[in-house]
């Protein structure tokens, strides 16, 4: 617990000195706000929450996956992780601290998107639920990528395509039915399904997102066993 908290605080201090990461957490909500105020609210043909949904899934993919992967890869590459382990930090404590912080950032982001959108209380609750679950999915996926990466560069190379697929597919799917069908297995697409029509099958969406989390957890567990198991035995 002590170690997890120390890593969490380290991450919190670091993000404000890391403009590259900080900007990703600010830019997508900011774009959603601007587009919603300037375009969606002044144009009756555009659904009021269109940009909120669009930017929310981009945020979930583009901000959360590479950030989580990048944190782990940087700490591995710079050998900081080695010192943490030598000080007695267990790998799962490290992951909980770092992942917990990114999750908090994801939750704050989700809250901001909720405030920007025009939701009833029930809709807001549904939106927040799918957002936070999706954030968790991104973080687990990002953690797996981070563990498997030798350095920051390879973490970036591996997480960017994933971020693009999960972040932008929902937007593309809105223009093409075939893509829309195929994309329905993606957690970020389910988020869009719910927000575009709050009467849609909510339990089904949650089940698909949970299935995504399950798949990512398996990938994560394999990565963890392969690369970090020995570390935890120390």
């Amino acid at each position: 617990m002590r170690s997890t908290k120390a890593i969490f605080i380290k991450q919190a201090k670091d993000i404000f000195r890391n403009p590259m990461i900080l900007i990703e957490f600010i830019i997508f909500p900011a774009v959603a706000l601007i587009m919603t105020e300037l375009i969606a609210k002044t144009n009756d043909a555009i659904p009021p929450n269109m940009f909120v949904t669009m930017m929310a899934s981009i945020f979930t993919g583009m901000a959360l996956i590479p950030t989580m992967a990048g944190i782990i890869a940087e700490d591995t590459e710079r050998q900081s992780l080695r010192f943490l382990v030598m000080a007695g930090v267990k790998p799962h404590q490290y992951l909980l601290g770092a992942g917990g912080f990114v999750l908090l950032a994801g939750i704050i982001g989700s809250g901001v998107f909720t405030l920007i959108g025009s939701f009833t209380a029930e809709e807001a609750l549904k939106f927040l639920t799918v957002m936070i679950l999706s954030a968790a999915a991104s973080i687990i996926l990002g953690a797996a990528v981070g563990i498997l990466s030798k350095n920051q560069q390879s973490a970036m190379a591996a997480s960017m395509p994933l971020a693009v697929i999960f972040g932008f597919t929902p937007m593309i799917a809105s223009f093409n039915e075939t893509i829309e069908k195929a994309a329905s297995v993606l957690y970020t697409q389910q988020m869009n399904v719910i927000v575009n029509d709050f009467s849609a099958n909510f339990p089904l969406a949650i089940a698909v997102i949970a299935a995504n989390i399950a798949v990512f957890s398996v990938v994560f567990a394999v990565a963890y066993r392969k690369k970090w198991m020995r570390t935890s035995a120390r």
Partner: protein, 232 residues
Amino acid sequence: MIRMQNVVKNYGANTVLSDVTFEAHEREIFGLLGPSGAGKTTIINILTKQIEADAGEHDTGVTTFETGLMLDEDGLYTRLNCLDNLYIFADIYGIPKEKAMQALKKVGLEDAAKRQVQKLSNGMRQRLALARAILHEPRVLFLDEPTSGLDPATARGIHRLIETLRENGATIFLTTHNMEEAVKLCDSVALLNKGKIVEQGAPAEICERYGAIKTVPDLESVFIKLTGVELE
């Protein structure tokens, strides 16, 4: 206290340590000397349980918590300041935050406490790495080439600090390929070449044994006599 007995380490077909046996006593400054690639870092990694030996026994006599470590890579968080880097470890160890400033004072970095690590000079970074190693007042300190790449004045400062730490009861295990440093600083040394200990004892004794005392004990010439290898 710290000892290795018949330790062997292979990387594939490459034998890095072939049969290493030595002992470092409590409250002494022990120097492991050898040229680049001799296996010094490998020995520290085995003693600190970061890698496993293929054969042999080893022991440091203390727990991980009682061990301090300074490696060839400093692993510092470069965007954070000096104090924040130490706070992380103070939190992990569960020791009071004031210890962080105390450690910075010991290495003479108190004026740079709030400075970002990426804006420090090499020597300052190295001193910060040392501050992190001594933060929790470990009983055994492993220092992998603590003065490499430092100017003589900074190196002397680190030597003085190492001596103070020993006087306060710590055991220091350091590696170096600087023979002069070893003679001046170490109570006892082991000479390592190609994964084998070729000689060990007090520096002056070893030099005497090999007739290498001129004006100052000349450990370097002993090493060359034994191995035919020059250090730098």
